[in-house]
Symmetry: C2
Subunit: 196 residues, 2 copies
């Protein structure tokens, strides 16, 4: 990102920073659905400025959580290397993903949304996380721990959906996610060389 020819104006860069900070704070206090006006006010800019820097809400979300998404993506291979079994690594990685989703009000809802405003979010998750999930799935299949035939995208879609509505005292997605992962396991009647 060198400072080449088309350098942005200083105020533009300053406002973009302010917007990211304001959005991060607003997301924490009011969820990722926080009204645009509120973010603009917190950042001390007009709404037009938000739309100029981040054409869709998804762009803003992706920018705010970029680091955390990267960290999650990079944790995949690490877990695979250090965990006893691919299936255990998959389970732990999914836990990371679930933690990421449930600690951000409304992110799971946004992730599943098929509204066009969230295309960027979908695309980014697809680019960074689905391949990681696929790697873990493949390893577990190769080790004979789980049955083949489940696509990474499908699994992540399901996990994302299960995380919707977390935060309500009466619903903890982690148990259900664990059931889902357990459901992947090879049935014991099938002779498989896998023994944990």
């Amino acid at each position: 990102m060198t400072i080449t020819t088309p350098r942005k104006r200083a105020d533009a860069r300053r406002n973009q920073e302010a917007l990211l900070d304001a959005a991060a704070a607003a997301f924490v206090s009011s969820g990722v659905d926080v009204p645009v006006r509120e973010i603009a006010a917190k950042a001390g800019v007009g709404v037009g400025t938000i739309y100029r820097h981040f054409p869709t809400r998804a762009d803003l979300i992706v920018a705010v959580y970029h680091h955390q998404i990267e960290a999650c993506a990079e944790a995949g291979p690490a877990l695979l290397a250090e965990s006893g079994s691919p299936h255990a690594a998959l389970g732990r990685w999914i836990d990371l993903f679930v933690d990421f989703l449930v600690t951000k009000h409304g992110l799971a809802e946004a992730f599943r949304s098929d509204s066009s405003s969230f295309e960027t979010l979908h695309a980014h998750f697809l680019d960074r996380l689905v391949p990681v999930c696929a790697e873990l799935l493949d390893a577990a299949v190769a080790a004979g721990e789980i049955r083949p035939g489940t696509a990474a995208l499908e699994l992540m879609h399901g996990v994302g959906n299960l995380c919707i509505g977390a935060r309500s005292e009466t619903y903890d997605p982690r148990r259900l996610v664990a059931l889902l992962i357990a459901g992947l396991r090879n049935p014991p009647d099938r002779p498989a060389a896998a023994r944990v």
Copy 2:
């Protein structure tokens, strides 16, 4: 529930009928999130009339799908009686529930919503369907087919969540729901401690 003393005015009953018909049609063509004005226009009434008859959107949804919800509830005991095993009955009943949800655009989304407007929907599902699910779960636990510890409400919440975003060509909740149900199984030859 007969038409006793406080009989409603004829035009009121007529409008309620018209609203139910219009809403049913609108739900099919535009999902249960269809704008209120659209339903009112289709029924040939003003929006005020909708709110008078159905204070919240959930009331309208419940009224429109009342028969189907009843049918689903009544199918539970029947399946339990005729199926080979409680777990099979549970699986088939969940399939019915999934079918019900995915054939109504947006119903799964509404079901999971914790917005106060949907309290009636929640309440009705809780009253009619959760006990049925609990009965099936208990029977399967008693038969030793699944592990105990999963609440009916939790399971239905999860299944409902998995059904969000169906209709998109690329996502079929049935496979994931099947995984979830499979995850409940209590493998007879594997001690519970082997779980990850």
